[in-house]
Symmetry: C2
């Protein structure tokens, strides 16, 4: 099986690792705009060789894990040159604009629009780990637009990687993901910024911060290269979540100013039911 | 060694567990306003027997791990009845009002004002774990107001529990902790609230939320019984952090509305330096 991974970072590299493990006969070719990433990926044995779009015609599987702004202009070019039996999957954290970019493409049926809900706050080939996708959900959009045989090919891989599949339309995906992912990243970044600005002496942060702080700020380590295009593409939904979040924070602040501690109490106890909801979420192993 | 733990929840229960392990000859008496917690603590072997304030005169060590509003009125009563050689430590997440409550107490020198930066989002005796405090920082305030011999007694225990000690005055503690702990808890609660309100279908949260969401919302499982009094006691500092956090979120939202993605990028990359700062923070083992 010829597998081409375009973008050998955390996401693509981890996919390559899993493929190597689950399909030992697979030959993995890496494509990346960064030569140093490719060299690193070779060194780390994530890929078997470097390549370019010339290899795509003979690929069985193409996994495209690049920033979503790059996806929008690269995906049509990739589809231009793939073979009839090639299935192309992406891992983009937004779906609407990406799906639109290839809506009228003659080889649309070679493409499966995916968003695997998997990741860590780390980046680059050295961040790649085995089992990143295990037990995680893969959101597949417009599945009916992918050729049936190619659906099967892709789903077989995801199944062996032990992913759950959830089907959704691209607009709904972008709307929901703004709430359960994009907003979290912004809250982390801004929390980190607030603390860094105030705590000029970093020693104080070190000494006083516990795992609670760490967990709310962890995502502030995320890559701006990955996240700026995501916020740009999903701007309207993201702005909506920000408005609601800010409103909730303002209200809470007002309750404190009004010294309405009964209401403060209820706000928190009402939100405690997140416990039940969160029970189902699989965490990534190997987290430090 | 007679050890009395007042408040056998996560914090007191974990302290008891560590004491049992490090000081096998210690006799641990539990005091709690909740009979069912005491029964549970006995069942779980966290304590050797139940007691009341009558046992305090003969205690070597008293560990007070109750909500900070209760601390303010109980600590004076506890100091009223302890023996001359008894050291009383608390674990309150605020320090100024608690220190003030016993500032003029004739037995002030029997008290050491502590805030161990340790915890999980779980509560109650069943949440108690070994090693909760290992590698964590204990903030000690007004150490000079504790009798020297009793300082030594307390520090010996913390040392065996492998805690780092950091000395701070109570006002500074409350100011800094608002930024590196209290704000994180509010951000989590409000993030959870925002998502719950929007995502009426909880299935969607399940399916789309990954470990990123989980980490930013984890603290929303925290106990309102513990946190309402903390926010009340540290209100002014907490309101200040909220105002700055909200301002940062507003600014970020405006950048998105202005489509100033270069600035969006820089905001995030500037905050990436949190990576270095967070490197030093020890996480709690046994986290699910």
């Amino acid at each position: 099986m010829n597998v081409v991974v375009i973008g050998i970072g955390l996401i693509g590299g981890s996919f390559a690792k899993d493929v190597k493990q689950l399909f030992p006969e697979a030959h993995i070719i890496g494509i990346d705009k960064s030569d140093s990433h490719l060299d690193e990926a070779l060194e780390l044995n994530l890929i078997d060789e470097k390549g370019d779009y010339g290899v795509l015609a003979l690929a069985d599987v193409v996994y495209v894990s690049i920033p979503v702004n790059a996806l929008v202009h690269e995906l049509p070019k990739i589809l231009d040159v793939v073979g009839d039996e090639t299935v192309v999957m992406d891992a983009g954290s937004t779906k609407r604009l990406i799906c639109e970019s290839v809506a009228e493409h003659p080889k649309r049926r070679n493409y499966m629009a995916c968003h695997p809900i998997a990741g860590t706050e780390f980046s680059g080939p050295s961040a790649a780990i085995n089992g990143l996708y295990e037990g995680k959900t893969n959101i597949i959009c417009e599945v009916e637009k992918t050729a049936f045989k190619l659906q099967e090919k892709a789903l077989d891989i995801f199944q062996k990687m032990q992913m759950r599949i959830r089907y959704m339309n691209p607009e709904a995906h972008d709307k929901h993901i703004a709430y359960v992912s994009h907003l979290s990243h912004i809250s982390s970044f801004m929390l980190g910024k607030t603390v860094i600005e105030k705590e000029k002496n970093e020693r104080d942060i070190f000494d006083m911060a516990g795992s609670g702080f760490e967990s709310t700020v962890r995502l502030a380590k995320s890559s701006p290269d990955m996240w700026t295009p995501i916020f740009e593409q999903n701007r309207d939904n993201v702005v909506e979540t920000l408005e609601e979040y800010i409103q909730n924070l303002e209200n809470f602040k007002q309750l404190l100013l009004d010294q309405d501690y009964d209401k403060v109490y209820t706000e928190m106890s009402d939100t405690n039911k997140i416990k039940q909801i969160l029970k189902g979420i699989p965490l990534t192993k190997n987290r430090t």
